[in-house]
Subunit: 166 residues, 2 copies
């Protein structure tokens, strides 16, 4: 399978949106996706983008007319213990294009970005029941720091934030 | 106890460094803190800062000569399901200044920043054994999404990233 990996541009946004929705459907979490098409496009391509993307493109359209078949969405974070970091928000390959190394290539390309930006680590989150993803990442050398060190992720949503304001 | 909350500036960096080291010692994790003073200062106050801070200042120096007695370190992230987000990397108040609402005020001030920047959520991580922190955040309305949804945090360090590059 031939494919290329390249950064996503504004012209790709329809495909980025389609793949992010596919991913949410795939995780049975579409109800959780409340951000709109317009908000996501604005935040992706504002002067200081809130996130960046890498896309996997195949030379021939598939039967539904798509050439963009996978994506990685990431942004820059910081660890006051380790230094500059990158967070992998999403990694997705359309089911019919799996098994050709596209996901691994997206991750490899992102690892090069991490290195070029002088970042020291790449973090991400997976659902505990998603054994396929967990095996994919741990097979490539990722540490599960929830299991190893006992880190828990906490979240204040918009409603609970209102209650925090004194 | 009188105190004020304000953004950290370059002139405060010695205090920011001191509090971050105190926090690492407090968590018995000082060995994990490999970022240097110079790196952290550069990343905090570069043209596009990697993180920002809020400081708690008291009017009178304590017996060791310090007026900055607490801090919050945060940066902007993104959820492709929810939208613009903030991550609270560190929240720390010197032990002798606890019990006066300084931590809660730092968090409240950060919640205002979250709102002003049109962000929809605030995320953070705590160690599972840190019952004091977990109770503090859950008492203010934070959800533990590791417990609730089964999210695990994964990390590629610099060495494992090298192995990912094809």
């Amino acid at each position: 399978m031939n494919f290329t990996i390249r950064p996503g541009t504004k012209a790709d946004f329809k495909d980025i949106w389609r793949l992010l929705k596919d991913l949410a459907i795939h995780e049975k979490m579409l109800d959780e996706m409340i951000v709109t098409y317009e908000e996501l496009e604005r935040d992706a391509f504002s002067q200081e983008p809130w996130f960046e993307s890498l896309l996997a493109e195949v030379p021939e359209e598939n039967k539904e007319g798509f050439k963009i078949v996978g994506l990685a969405v990431y942004f820059y974070t910081y660890s006051t213990w380790k230094g500059r970091s990158v967070y992998l928000e999403d990694l997705y390959v359309m089911p019919e294009f799996r098994g050709f190394g596209i996901g691994k290539n997206l991750l490899s390309t992102l690892a090069k970005v991490v290195k070029e930006k002088h970042c020291v680590q790449l973090e991400l989150s997976v659902l505990g029941q998603n054994n396929r993803s967990r095996a994919f990442y741990s097979g490539l050398g990722a540490q599960d720091i929830t299991l190893r060190d006992g880190w828990h992720s906490l979240r204040f949503d918009a409603q609970s934030l209102k209650n925090v304001i004194l």
